[in-house]
């Protein structure tokens, strides 16, 4: 690859691909540390109540056991007692479980003890020997049964401007008086992130006041802050390493009890401790997409103009944290409607706290909104795409601001062509292939083009390569690869001469990898750091070379072995000379969003088109085509971005057709415990997902023009499939997942 080729947009192979295909990439349970010990959690067997006793004698005596820790003998975690300093990121009220602090049980399988031994086998065996007695209390684990107690989130009660407050434009509930109207209820069950890597942590107290953790986290800085607070340590005494994260999809946006448990255990046994959850535990203690009930009312004119929408939802949260998400956001801004009402409520249940799961609330809300759009289009005898076009918004109806960019119409066109939308019949059940009924459906997604502050360090190494560092993580999208491409363009050098290191809290700071914000935030910081480095090198070179002294930083080229000027090829300073000259060849640059958000409404948009086949006798649904089109601003790497879109689409297939975690309310305990009960899509469920990007830069989000992909890849997929199922069968399924029993 020539240095002058533009890297942004090129389908470059991943910079860490070699490590991933050879098994050399190390995840958080795979670090070799001396004298490592193994920790296994013991979970409660009731959903609510108190622990009255724990018999750990047998476990303590079992071979290889180093410690059995519970609230009876846990060392004091100083931060647990510091009021108002809870490590609560998503919580707007309450705070996370303080593990082994008291006898209170707040959900079934809550960790009540941790067993530490010198091997997995011994720790697991001993964990089974721990016996607890409880004083159970009546629990609540059913959202519908608790719907009458649903409440406005505390944060909204306290602050009238909080986005979780009730929203109204025009008249409240105006749909009820509309000429053509619908009112439908939708349910999405609890879904679980289930990244392939089980949540794992290796905790190592390198000194009594210095902690290093190798952890599955989407934010090394946030995790560092949380555990520094728990142990009342200066943040710089805690180091969080997450070089590779085996997927997360949101479930590593929060610090969880098992992490605290491993750190406590490492303190007690004074050895590095490794803890890996079981697949059962992944259901109970590291978050999930909350069970959510929604009601959507809509009215429209006969010519297909929406006149009113009311969208209400009740989402599940725990008794100890108020988890909120933007379930109703898309309803407020996607379609032109003079009257819109939204009401968001929570129901607190005796289940662990939820956490944002890919697409988070927006994906939940889009299932209701985009299903209702399809229902209304059907009532109006209109093509659903045409219905959406008739209600298209050229500015944000929620606040009147112009869109920073919006190329959703272009997405509609791209997708409709590729899926063969013209084959779709208005009348359900019109198309078939033998026993398979064929249908087409679409669903729209949107997500805020969020950007936060980020800092990147850049330095020229003696061998002429450039090292970049940032505390951001890469849970799979290919962050290091995208940043390398951005840096290559900014520096004008071959990407092979750049190394972008991430996943370490000691590196320059960045936010968590969530909310589709990483490239938006870290991208500009990378770009600016590279430009600053060039300028710094120019200045250094200028000390002995007049041409450099007067050159502009954009003019500087980092050639193979020397620095030169693109305007003056004769001007040369070798790296060797620069290094000899001494002086710092490193910069650290922070990039922050400006006031663009005040002037513009900034969103990524997507539309998903599905072709499904539904077996008329067995009710099985196969997604035979899935086309996802996105207006996500500039695409840094079409290969990795396309992959991310495909992955979001596959996640949407799971949401639409198979994913549901069920609790037996009598016991307040999940009956879905593993991948045999909780189905996620396999190869055979995935068609060859087709992806198209508009690839138009957004000039307002950042200088790169990016808007974010991760969420819009999933938002809108489930309703596209549900709508296609309706088109195939005439059956409207409003409670996910669409399993065969609902269609026969």
């Amino acid at each position: 690859m020539k240095a002058q080729d533009k890297q942004i947009g090129a389908p470059m192979n991943r910079v860490d691909g070699h490590l991933k295909v050879t098994g050399a990439a190390k995840y958080s349970a795979e670090y070799e540390l001396p004298n490592i010990a193994y920790a296994v959690l013991v979970g409660s067997t009731i959903a609510r109540g108190r622990i009255t006793s724990i018999d750990a004698k047998a476990a303590e005596k079992a071979p290889g056991v180093l410690a059995v820790i519970s609230h009876f003998n846990s060392p004091k975690v100083p931060g647990f007692d510091t009021a108002g300093k809870d490590p609560s990121q998503p919580a707007t009220a309450g705070g996370p479980i303080k593990i082994f602090k008291d006898d209170k049980i707040r959900f079934n399988d809550q960790p009540i003890a941790v067993v530490v031994a010198d091997s997995w086998e011994r720790a697991r065996f001993a964990a089974r020997l721990v016996k607890a007695q409880y004083a159970p209390e009546k629990h609540k684990t059913n959202l519908e049964a608790s719907a009458s107690e649903a409440f406005l989130p505390t944060a909204a009660k306290k602050n009238p401007k909080h986005p979780m407050n009730d929203y109204q434009r025009g008249q409240a509930d105006a749909y009820k008086t509309g000429a053509i109207k619908l009112e439908s209820e939708y349910v999405i069950p609890t879904e679980v992130h289930h990244p392939m890597e089980l949540q794992a942590i290796t905790a190592h107290w390198e000194a009594p006041d210095r902690l290093t953790i190798y952890d599955k986290t989407q934010g090394t800085m946030a995790t560092r802050r949380d555990f520094a607070r728990e142990w009342n340590l200066p943040e710089e005494n805690v180091k969080v390493i997450a070089t590779f994260v085996g997927g997360a999809f949101g479930n590593a946006l929060h610090s969880w009890p098992h992490e605290s448990a491993a750190i406590i255990a490492a303190k007690v046994v004074n050895r590095p401790v490794k803890l890996m959850l079981t697949r059962e535990q992944m259901f109970t203690m590291v978050g999930y997409r909350p069970y959510t009930w929604q009601k959507l009312g809509m009215s429209a004119t006969p010519d297909g103009k929406i006149t009113a929408i009311t969208h209400e939802s009740i989402g599940q949260t725990s008794t100890y944290e108020e988890f909120t998400e933007s379930t109703l956001a898309q309803t407020r801004m996607m379609y032109q409607s003079p009257n819109v009402t939204t009401r968001y409520r929570l129901a607190a249940l005796d289940i662990g706290s939820p956490i944002w799961m890919r697409g988070p609330g927006e994906a939940t809300g889009a299932f209701a909104l985009e299903s209702a759009m399809d229902e209304m289009a059907f009532m109006l005898n209109l093509d659903p795409l045409e219905f959406r076009l008739r209600n298209y918004t050229d500015k944000d109806p929620e606040n009147g601001k112009p869109w920073s960019t919006k190329f959703l119409k272009e997405c509609y066109q791209l997708g409709a062509e590729r899926v063969g939308w013209n084959k779709r019949q208005l009348k359900p059940g019109s198309l078939r292939d033998g026993e398979w009924l064929i249908g087409y459906g679409m669903g729209v997604g949107t997500f805020g083009a969020h950007r936060g502050a980020a800092t990147v360090g850049a330095q020229l190494l003696p061998d002429g390569t450039v090292l970049l560092q940032c505390a951001t993580t890469d849970i799979g999208p290919g962050t290091g690869t995208a940043m390398t491409q951005i840096a290559a363009d900014a520096l004008g050098i071959d990407p092979k001469r750049i190394r972008f290191e991430l996943g370490n809290s000691s590196f320059p700071k960045a936010g968590t990898q969530g909310g589709s914000s990483t490239v938006n935030s870290v991208g500009p910081a990378t770009q600016e750091a590279c430009l600053a480095l060039k300028d710094k090198l120019r200045t250094l070179a200028g000390a002995g070379n007049a041409a450099f002294a007067s050159a502009k930083k954009e003019d500087v080229t980092l050639a193979d072995g020397y620095l030169t000027l693109s305007s003056n090829a004769a001007a040369k300073v070798s790296y060797a000379d620069l290094i000899k000259q001494g002086g710092d060849k490193a910069v650290t640059v922070e990039a922050k969003p400006g006031g663009e958000g005040q002037k513009y409404s900034m969103y990524s948009f997507s539309v998903h088109f599905a072709e499904v086949r539904v077996h008329e006798l067995t009710g099985e649904v196969r997604v035979s085509k899935l086309v996802s089109c996105a207006d996500a601003g500039t695409i840094i790497n079409e290969k990795t971005a396309g992959n991310q879109m495909k992955g979001g689409a596959v996640g949407g297939i799971g949401m639409a057709l198979m994913e549901a975690a069920h609790i037996d309310d009598r016991f307040g305990r999940y009956v879905t415990k593993d991948f045999a009960d909780y189905h996620v899509p396999v190869h055979a469920d995935s068609p060859d997902v087709q992806v198209a990007f508009v690839n138009q830069p957004d000039p307002h989000v950042n200088a790169l023009g990016t808007k974010g992909i991760g969420e819009i890849a999933t938002i809108g997929v489930a309703p596209a499939i549900a709508n296609a199922v309706f088109n195939a069968t005439g059956k409207r399924v409003r409670e996910l997942p669409i399993t065969p029993d609902k269609l026969i």
Partner: protein
């Protein structure tokens, strides 16, 4: 757990047992007990005694390297690879044979290493992701996964690749649909399925030796 490559050091099971013989006064009583018939936990045995009687000898060839080991019978092949041999390329994704992240080849056949005890493979040849490349030269399937971006987070990737190689060798890569069916034992939660199928197709059609 004692572990040594055979050609490196002699302290395999037998050696460990001899050392333990010298040290333990409890031994006379236990010498006649075939390992590991005694439940050390229940019998309240001291740590060294327990450690020794709980283990059985195991010979295994992993990625061409011969190992002479002493393992507990309850140690799975997966845990042996990851925790004792430090071959962490083989992943634990569910531990119940429901995800395929732990896929390795035993005597050339793809299997879930989480669902069998290491001792059951005594004398067999195991190939893991670390043993697939020819030195620095990647296996064609590894190359194809990189080229087609057949992964995101990378955690299921070793299992996908081991399974994909077997899929082609078995002759089950005749069409996209057949590949999808025969690769369904390997879950990719990131959803890179389309790209994995493309990678397998390329290798299959490329005619290189897999």
């Amino acid at each position: 757990m004692a572990m040594n490559p055979e050609h490196d050091a002699p302290a395999g099971h037998d050696e460990a047992r001899r050392t333990f013989l010298k040290q333990s006064s409890l031994l006379t009583a236990l010498a006649f007990v075939p390992a590991p018939v005694v439940d050390a936990a229940a019998a309240n045995l001291d740590e060294k005694v327990a450690g020794a009687i709980e283990k059985v000898p195991l010979k295994l060839e992993v990625n061409g390297k011969k190992y002479k080991l002493a393992v507990e019978p309850r140690t799975t092949l997966l845990d042996l690879l990851r925790e004792e041999l430090n071959l962490t390329g083989t992943k634990k994704g569910c531990d119940y044979g429901q995800c395929g992240a732990c896929t390795v080849h035993v005597d050339g056949q793809r299997v879930n290493s989480c669902l069998s005890f290491a001792v059951m493979h005594d004398g067999r040849k195991v190939t893991t992701i670390e043993g697939l490349a020819d030195g620095d030269k990647l296996h064609p399937m590894q190359e194809a996964f990189v080229k087609h971006d057949g992964f995101q987070c990378g955690y299921c990737t070793p299992g996908q690749i081991m399974s994909a190689v077997a899929c082609v060798r078995e002759g089950h890569a005749g069409s996209d649909a057949e590949i999808r069916e025969y690769m369904s034992g390997n879950i990719c939660r990131c959803g890179a399925y389309s790209n994995i199928v493309a990678a397998i197709q390329e290798v299959k059609n490329g005619g290189q030796k897999v």
